[in-house]
């Protein structure tokens, strides 16, 4: 399956981006092969409103089953949940370190958004 980790850059050595909706990039890992591909978050970064929703669509279109990030707001959480995508928050360090923790089973999905939205 595929898991998307929000990232500040294209490389797994880059730090995790604590935001989901306006994350710079999603690094999408294949959990079976360990291979990774960057996915630009063009819609989410530029959207005036509903960035979290656009970002959710982006990762869904990429066939992702789980998202790992710093924080997830209410609109993004609702959109991801509707698509059956697990949401994991509280990620820190580099993207590579976070993926390792995910593979080790140390990261658990949450049942609700962990932060307020930005406005609407």
């Amino acid at each position: 399956m595929k898991v998307a980790i929000t990232s500040r850059g294209l490389d797994p050595q880059d730090p995790v981006d604590p935001r989901f909706g306006r994350a710079t990039v999603f690094v999408v890992f294949d959990t079976e092969t360990g291979e990774h591909t960057p996915l630009e978050n063009s819609g989410g970064m530029d959207a005036a409103h509903g960035a979290g929703i656009q970002a959710a669509r982006r990762v869904q279109e990429a066939g992702v089953s789980a998202v790992v990030t710093g924080h997830c707001g209410p609109n993004a959480f609702r959109a991801l949940s509707a698509a059956g995508i697990d949401v994991i928050v509280g990620a820190q360090g580099t993207v590579a370190e976070t993926f390792a923790r995910y593979q080790a089973g140390d990261l658990q999905p949450v049942a609700a958004p962990d932060v307020e939205g930005h406005g609407l």
């Binding site: 959207a47 409103h49 509903g50 929703i53 656009q54 959710a56 669509r57 869904q60 609109n75 609702r78 959109a79 991801l80 509707a82 698509a83 059956g84 406005g119 609407l120």
Partner: protein, 326 residues
């Protein structure tokens, strides 16, 4: 007073229009706006209305914080909800094709799976998703975002819009206030401060805009933004300088440079602030001001009439008249 047509310079008249005088109108719509907040819009709007010698209506379009009513004793208050239409999806008809989400410019409806999910606070009520749905599975349901109240006070008809706390979309409520405008009666519109969508929605239907400012760097900075706004909208406008004496003459110098009329100057007078703080209209506390507001209204209506003449004469332009400061 220079003749309006020569002051604007040569401009080809539309055929047949020439210099035909405009029949005097009785129902000019005067908007009171500002760049900077707290300059005295509500004071000017309320007192323009109360000093009227005939029927008049006052529209409070500052829907995020309407307070004109605090100066008025109102009777027969009628209140109606303001709603915007948001989509509701019939799950039995939906095939999750996702076209509704594709057309939505606001991410208010997304097909993450069947059925699509709606984010009501993001919806602008454009109706696009309903029209595009190939299965006709989406219908409109109203979502309440505010209210409009209509009331009377003798010869004054009062309309107020109020946006519900926490809501983000003022323009639909402002449009609802304007929809209560009674034809044939002059109207004063108390606009929200600033130059954003709500202010534009409040002033765009008016015949002339009075821009209230104060003689300070803040007042001038924000006035320049407000003048840019009314020029972009093609609306005749003039400036009212409130709290004369707290600053300098930079507003008047700016107006002279830019050819914007200074319509009135109100002194920085503590007694005005005291009446305001007690919710007493200025023309009630100091009746001698009624004549000054009456004169201000006449100057605004004159600007409005000139603006209409220019529009009919084909001159168009930015609607701004050069006038001598008297």
């Amino acid at each position: 007073m220079p003749d309006a047509s020569t002051a604007r310079g040569a401009a080809p008249a539309a055929s047949g229009a020439g210099a035909t005088p405009v029949k005097p109108r009785r129902d000019w719509r005067i908007a009171v706006a500002s760049g900077k907040g707290g300059t005295g819009k509500t004071t000017v709007a309320v007192n323009l209305a109360l000093s009227s010698r005939g029927p008049v209506q006052l529209l409070d379009c500052d829907v995020e914080a309407p307070n004109a009513r605090l100066f008025l004793s109102l009777t027969d208050v009628r209140r109606n909800a303001v709603t915007i239409p948001i989509p509701e999806v019939d799950q039995t008809r939906c095939t999750a094709c996702g076209q509704c989400g594709e057309i939505c410019a606001y991410n208010a409806i997304v097909a993450m799976g069947a059925p699509p999910i709606v984010f009501p606070r993001l919806c602008h009520g454009c109706g696009g998703c309903m029209r595009i749905c190939p299965r006709h599975a989406i219908r409109e349901v109203p979502r309440e975002i505010g209210a409009v109240a209509v009331a009377g006070n003798g010869h004054l008809r009062f309309v107020e819009g109020e946006l519900t706390i926490g809501e983000a979309m003022a323009p639909p409520v402002i449009r609802a206030v304007w929809s209560e405008l009674a034809p044939g009666t002059p109207a004063i519109i108390d606009a929200p401060p600033g130059t954003t969508c709500p202010t534009i929605e409040a002033v765009r239907g008016s015949d002339v805009v009075a821009l209230v400012t104060e003689p300070t760097p803040f007042g001038l900075h924000d006035l320049e933004l407000a003048v840019a706004m009314v020029r972009a909208l093609g609306l005749p406008h003039g400036v009212i300088v409130n709290r004369m004496g707290i600053g300098d003459d930079r507003i008047q110098r700016y107006c002279e440079r830019e050819g914007v009329a200074v319509l009135a100057e109100i002194a920085d007078d503590r007694s005005i602030a005291e009446a305001y703080a007690r919710g007493i209209p200025l023309v009630t506390a100091q009746p001698q001001y009624a004549a000054r507001f009456h004169e201000l209204r006449a100057r605004l209506e004159e600007l409005a009439a000139q603006g209409t003449q220019h529009a009919q004469g084909g001159a168009g332009g930015d609607g701004c008249d050069a006038q001598e400061v008297s």
